[in-house]
Symmetry: C2
Subunit: 136 residues, 2 copies
């Protein structure tokens, strides 16, 4: 399985990291994600890392990259489900994930994104429904 699936939930995208992000997989994820943001008019990206128990500087950088890329496409990134040990490691590595929002779990992350979008945009549905959930 060479790709990490990106799931569409309304106007948000959800990515669950379950495997170690080696170089190519991480670059693929970055590329897929920005294309998916564009294609689905997504306003937010949720990255669930609850299965990640070990983090290194590479992964910290990838998350930062995704957040920056999404931001210039006008989508906010929220990292959810971080394990306490991962938070400790990130700080010890000197990677405080600046510009990335975090939340305890997917539901809270989604509420955070909804709050950020405000009530007007909350009802807006993206137009393009065809590519949802696709990973090709």
């Amino acid at each position: 399985m060479e790709k990490i699936p990106i799931l569409r939930m309304g106007k948000f995208l959800l990515v669950t990291i379950q495997v170690d992000l080696y170089d190519r997989l991480a670059l693929n994820l970055e590329a897929d994600l920005v294309q998916m943001v564009k294609r689905t008019n997504a306003r937010g990206v949720l990255i669930d890392i609850s299965a990640v128990s070990i983090v290194d500087s590479f992964m910290g950088r990838i998350i930062g990259n995704i957040a920056s890329m999404s931001k210039i496409l006008d989508a906010q990134t929220v990292v959810v489900g971080m394990q306490p040990a991962v938070a400790i490691t990130l700080i010890e590595l000197g990677l405080p994930l600046k510009g990335v929002f975090t939340a305890l779990d997917v539901e809270r992350g989604m509420n955070l994104l909804k709050d950020k979008l405000g009530p007007d945009e909350e009802e807006m549905e993206p137009e393009d429904q065809d590519d949802a959930g696709s990973t090709e």
Copy 2:
């Protein structure tokens, strides 16, 4: 990473299969999922297999097991994102996934579950908010 994370989305649980389900991982997933259904009062389980390109009879059986277990706990299972090749293989293996609902993507799967629950339950929020997204 020894566990597949189970994400809570309102009254549904979402599982994304990204890795090959070998014996122990699959049994862990079954056990985690039924406990999570109980703990969160979940009414539906969404299993996203869009990253799965190869399926065997073991995996087909695991999905069937999860659906049956959830059903007797009063939660419906919907398998979403199945690739065409996987559908072909399942039928050729003689595993038509009886008793399992399927949908093209997570959004449609969620709408299917909402339709099944009906308008009364749709507003009902589960009481226990503490364990959401946890994978400990």
